[in-house]
Structures are given as structure tokens and as C-alpha cells.
Symmetry: C2
Subunit: 338 residues, 2 copies
């Protein structure tokens, strides 16, 4: 695997995600009905703003995990659909708040809700979607699933605060970075996959396997995202490039490049990250240093290891189209950069 | 009851709230232990910021409702304490987000968290406390209590968005205003009181009575708050005065004054609220118009009616110190302005 600046976009029409979407078409249609129904409110600003985000597409990767895991454990029923919708609502609430915190301007190829409506509506509609997620979970009558997802929700918030506290910390360690992405991203992937065997009352080994699959897939996904922030094309990704750099968010490529930097490069990173003193040529310079240090390549290799772990976690399940689909997704996530 | 600008502060040492706090001392100590324990995190910014708000005091009125309702229904056990802590966490999360939305500077006599740490930590720590509230609820193993509180959480968010959408709307009706305060304030009071009879498996009539008590108390509380915003003293209240006016938030005093205003006063309200064009003498002028129109007085009378409704809802319970305490609180809430 070599790193180039031409990503295979996640939106690729023949991607394994699209194949899984096709396999799950009936389930995803049922989940869409729940999502649309539960984001309604007589307060018009709520469905308007929620629909701007939810209706913009996105691959519904997390609810797909819940659905595929459900089929891997027997079948997907209405209760799985409700949990899948709850997972998507938690994710949507997080995105709305993240975009306020990060002052993001672009999401899924659209202007962010904070840019269109302002910060306050984004905060409050995020709270609404988060609460509606819990309404849905309560309806499933599964205290165990509620426990898994409410625990994931507090871990996500913890990871977001930790990331914020570590902003511009050029001395951030790899261990802290892995903690942050494990919490802010992988925890929800893990929970989305784990709730299905719980609902289906499957053996604990299957719970652990799917939790592990989700966790490792989430790590792989975020590692790739963090590499793409220094290499993708804005139009293909539907999000801005260089956001992390401009915010002074320290990610694995920067940690690794800084660790092996000569004194001139160390001074560069200290200026642009720690002192947060950047001009418009600095992103290009950063990318050039990252490439020279092999930091994007090594980040992608770390992602590949996580992806392999995710696929290995599935070995306890008998072969099926669902197992193949989940395995292919793990492989695909790290090949967005080919 | 006549309206004057000298409030009896909620912090009054001999208030019924203090008497209920004394009566509930053992319960409130147990709840404090849970609150302190559950706002901990290895991410230091979380307990720091949470403690700034939670440790600043406040009367813990909502958890007190849960405790007193529990005793009214027999006894308060650990499960009630956990729900009371969850209620306080939901309230705290709402305060953190509200202060960001309202750009507030003062809360409980302290600088707000958004002023000290910034908006982003306030948003994310609010999310954390909200998630921790659900962790606690899951531990109680009561799906019914979870349903009540998660439903309240989505109604609160809905009310907050509705309030935001109605900002500067000088044509806001009383019905919309009552919807907003019913959602943003009274829903949590109602849920805090209702969860105790649910946990204690009491007859549905007691659930309805305590829900009604909480709802009407919450309305009374918010009506008084909205009157005090045009009449209290900053030092006594521990919050800013004139905040609603400066934000262009339309509350019952303004709705009533506008309804009976002559053309000169209508032009004033249109300028300061709808066009949001204010100078530093306008708050004083607003107060003078509100007094002349009897709008503060009539708002307090509406609060008194709600308080009476709350007390009447308790009649189905046999006499006890807890019933007296809850009744006295309803009376006290509307006599903060004596």
C-alpha cells in the first residue's frame, strides 16, 4: 500500500458499503422511516435543521453495523431498527456539536448547520436528537442495550473534551491520541455492533467479537480520516481538508513526524501547532514534511493493522454474505487512499 | 400580594427550601456523594468545569422534589437517590448549554463556565453530564423512570429551540409562552416528582398528582423568574437582571404590557424587542412601563394561581411533614417577591 493524494472516495458507487446498503435495503428503509418520524416536532426549526444534516446523505455506516451484526446473529427485527436509528441520532447530535466546537464550515458537501442557522440552534437541536435517541432506546425495553449506548455516549463526550484539552499540545503522546480516537469515534462503532447480539440474546463470545470488530473498525476509520485531512480532495470527501491543521488538532501523522523531526521541522511544528501561528503556505509545507517523514504512510499502516484486527474478530462467525460484507467494509475503509 | 422591587431571596436562611433540605439531610448527603462521584473523569477539565457549576451551591430544588415525593410515597431508597442525581445532571447539562446560548455571564453568583472555560468545553461537558444522567438511570433498572426522564429531556430541548425561534417576536402569544416555559422548565420539575411514585410502585393517582404538582410548581417558578428579571437585585439573586430584556426574550410581563400598550409604548417594545435596538436607559424605561401596566403584578398573580394548583394536587396524600414541606415550597416560590 502506498500513499498518494488521490483517494478513492467513500462515495464510490461500487464500494462494499454500497453493496452492504443494497443487501440491507429493506432494513435501511425501515430505519429511515424511524429516523424521519422521530426528528419531527411542531417546532419547525428542529426538523429543518435535523433534515439539513440527516437528509444530506452520509452512508449511515453506524446503523449499517447494527443491521449487519443483527443478521450475523440471526435476523434484524424492529427492535434492531430502533437501536440503529438511535445510534444514528447519537452520531448526528455529536456532529452538530462537533461542528460548533470546531467552527466547521462544510459537512457532507453542504454548509454546516452552525453556518446556516448559527451555533445556538445547532447546540439545542443536537440535545434534542440526543434525547430522542434515548426515547427510542427506552422503547426497545432493553436495559442492556441502553447501558451499552449510554456508556458509549459518556465516553464520546469524554473523548471530545480530552481532544479539546489537548488542542495545540505538540507533545501529545500516541497513547493519548489512541485514547481520544478510541473514545470519540470507536466507542460508537463498538456499541453499534454490540447491541445486536445483546438484543438477539447471543452468547457472550459473539458480543465480544462484534464489539472488538466495531472498536477496531472505528480506530481504522479515524486513522484514515486523520491521514486524509492532509491528503484528500475537498470535493471527493465532502468535507474540508486541512481542518485539523488549522485548528491545531494534533493527530497521529503530526505526532510521528514531530517525533522524528530535525530541529528546523520541530521549530515549524512548534510555531504552527503550539503557538498556532500559521500563514497560508504552512499547510502545504506541513504535508510535505509529513510525506518526507513517512508519517501519512505509517498512519495508514496503523489503520491497516486495526482493519486486520477487525476482520480477524469475525472469524468465530460462520461464513455468510453478512460476514463477507462486514469484512469487506473493514478492508475498504483503509483503502479509501489507494 | 403587591409587587415591589425588594425580593425575598431564594437563599433566605429560614426558607421552606432550607427546612426541606434539613428534613432531607441524609438523603441529600447521599445524593451529593453520587453527584460528586459521577462527575469524575480522568479528563481533568470535566470535573473542574462540572464542579464550578455543581459546587457553586444552588438549592438542588429538583432532586429535593424527587426525595420529598419518595417520602410521600413511603420512603427514599438508593434508587431514588440515583434518579435525583440524574435529574440534577440533566438540569446541570441544560444550564451549561443555556448559558452558551444566552451568552450569560453570571450564574449562582459566579462567572459562568462559558465565560471561564469558553463555549466549547461548556457544550461538551454538558453532553458528558447528560450522558452520565442516563448511565445513572440505567443503573436503577427502571424502564418506566427512564421513559419519563428521557421524554422530559426531549421536551426540554424542544422548548429551548422554540424559545430561540421566538426570540424578538413581539407578537408571541401567551399560549406559546406557556408552551415554552412548560417545556423548558416545568417538564423537568414534573418528571423529578413523578419518578418517585413510579419507583415505589404507587397507584396511578399518586403519579398523576405528583406530576401535576411538579408541572404547576415549575410554571410558577418560571413565571416568578421572568418577573424577577425586571425587578430583582443582582446580588440577592446570584444572576444578572435584565438578561431577558437584553436578549430580546419575550416573557409574560412583556406580552401583557404589549397587549395593553398605547401607540407610544407599542413603538418602544417594537424598537427594543423586535428591532433589538436598545440603549442603556431602555431597561429602566421597560420596567417603568411594565409597572404602570400592572404586568409584573399580573404575572405574579398567574404564578400564584399555578402555585395554588400545585398545592391542591397534594390533597390526595395524607398529612405528613413531607406534604407540608412540598406545600410550603409551592407557597414560597411565589413569595420570593413579597
Amino acid at each position: 500500500m502506498t500513499y498518494s493524494s488521490t483517494p478513492t472516495p467513500l462515495q464510490n458507487a461500487k464500494s462494499p458499503i454500497d453493496r452492504l446498503l443494497a443487501l440491507s435495503a429493506a432494513d435501511m428503509a425501515a430505519i429511515d422511516v424511524i429516523i424521519i418520524e422521530r426528528m419531527q416536532s411542531p417546532v419547525g426549526m428542529i426538523p429543518d435543521l435535523a433534515n439539513h444534516l440527516v437528509g444530506a446523505g452520509g452512508k449511515r455506516l453506524r446503523p449499517l453495523l447494527t443491521v449487519a451484526s443483527a443478521h450475523l446473529c440471526g435476523a434484524a427485527h424492529e427492535v434492531h431498527h430502533k437501536l440503529a436509528a438511535a445510534v444514528e441520532f447519537i452520531h448526528s447530535a455529536t456532529l452538530l456539536h462537533d461542528d460548533v466546537v470546531d467552527e466547521s464550515a462544510l459537512r457532507r458537501g453542504r454548509k454546516t448547520a452552525n453556518l446556516v442557522w448559527g451555533n445556538s440552534p445547532s447546540i439545542l437541536v443536537g440535545d434534542f436528537l440526543f434525547a430522542r435517541a434515548f426515547n427510542l432506546m427506552v422503547e426497545t425495553q432493553s436495559l442492556e442495550a441502553l447501558g451499552i449506548l449510554s456508556n458509549a455516549a459518556s465516553i464520546i463526550a469524554e473523548g471530545e473534551v480530552q481532544q479539546l484539552a489537548a488542542l495545540r499540545d505538540i507533545d501529545m503522546t500516541e497513547a493519548v491520541y489512541m485514547d481520544v480516537i478510541g473514545a470519540k469515534t470507536a466507542a460508537l462503532f463498538a456499541a453499534a455492533a454490540e447491541v445486536s447480539p445483546i438484543i438477539s440474546e447471543r452468547p457472550v463470545a459473539e458480543r465480544h467479537a462484534l464489539r472488538k470488530y466495531g472498536q477496531e473498525l472505528g480506530l481504522a476509520f479515524q486513522l484514515v480520516d486523520d491521514a486524509l485531512d492532509y491528503g484528500g480532495f475537498e470535493s471527493a470527501l465532502g468535507k474540508s481538508v486541512g481542518d485539523d491543521f488549522r485548528e491545531g488538532k494534533v493527530t497521529l501523522p503530526v505526532i510521528r513526524a514531530f517525533a522524528s523531526a530535525n530541529s528546523e521541522d520541530k521549530a515549524f511544528w512548534t510555531r504552527v501547532i503550539k503557538e498556532h501561528n500559521q500563514d497560508e503556505t504552512d499547510l502545504e509545507k506541513a504535508v510535505s514534511i509529513l510525506r518526507r517523514a513517512g508519517a501519512l504512510q505509517s498512519t495508514m499502516e496503523e489503520a491497516k493493522r486495526r482493519s486486520d484486527n477487525a476482520r480477524k474478530a469475525l472469524t468465530i462467525f460462520p461464513d455468510s454474505p453478512w460476514k463477507t460484507a462486514l469484512s469487506d467494509i473493514a478492508e475498504f475503509v483503509v483503502e479509501r487512499i489507494s
